[in-house]
Amino acid sequence: MLFPKPLAGIIIVLTLVLTQGCVVSRGTIGEPLQEEAISAIKKGTTTMAEVVSLIGAPDRIVRGNDREIFHYYYYDGKSPAMLLLLLNFIRMDIKSDNLYVFFNRNGIAEEVVYGKRTGRTQFRLWPFGD
């Protein structure tokens, strides 16, 4: 016999205990920003209407320095969890992408600022450390 009976039972129970209670969740807000559409915006020529047809209506419109600023965002959150009988680990990692299109007084795109962080979102369970 490879294992004594009680040891085999304990191994089975431990295996079941260790593999149950795993949860993997993912949540997003908005749609991912398409980089081809963003690169199609040409400073000094693309109009507000063209930006809307390329990317869609902005999530927010901000006014700054007497100019209109379109703000698009996308959030991505990944959350693995281990919910055991007596011990629970839950971690969530959320990152955001932001796109700003600055328009001049004539409604022509003047500047485009884009930052992508969601590519670095990870399913990380271990809650300790960085």
Partner: protein, 145 residues
């Protein structure tokens, strides 16, 4: 001799597993990390009156929010590291009782942080600063008092 050795290993493993189980009983550790931390080293390159919003975005990414203030347009970078730990003394009862009483100590530390940059009308940096800096707290700290 082999049986005795097997038995003592089995006993040691059982006691070890029980010890670990008792140590971990009812522990819940949660952590929610939002966006990347912006450090003072990362923003050392900023020169008042010279650095533009584009250069800023090249170095630390696009801000999470742009808003207008009395001093000019402000770009906000937000991040947080929320740590929460709980210890439920009633969890052990789940092993033997159909109903587990709840006797929980829980502490949650939400630490939203912000880096703010104020721009002049030419979109160059007029001022910048961190809203506040918190000291690192341990991930597991359930004592709420």
């Amino acid at each position: 001799m082999t049986n005795v050795a097997t038995r003592s290993i089995f006993s040691a493993c059982t006691i070890g597993a029980l010890g670990l189980t008792l140590l971990w009983t009812g522990c819940t550790v949660r952590r929610v990390v939002f966006n990347d931390v912006v450090t003072t080293e990362q923003v050392n390159f900023i020169r008042i009156g010279q650095t533009t919003i584009l250069e800023l975005a090249d170095h630390i990414g696009a801000p999470d929010e742009v808003t207008e203030s009395d001093f000019g347009v402000v770009a906000l970078y937000n991040w947080s590291d929320t740590k929460s730990a709980a210890l439920d003394f009633g969890a052990l009862a789940r092993l033997v009782l159909p109903y587990a009483p709840t006797m929980t100590l829980n502490k949650t530390g939400i630490t939203p942080e912000q880096f703010q940059v104020v721009f002049d009308p030419q979109w160059t940096v007029r001022a910048y600063g961190f809203s506040r800096r918190t000291t690192d707290e341990p991930v597991v700290w359930f004592w709420p008092f």
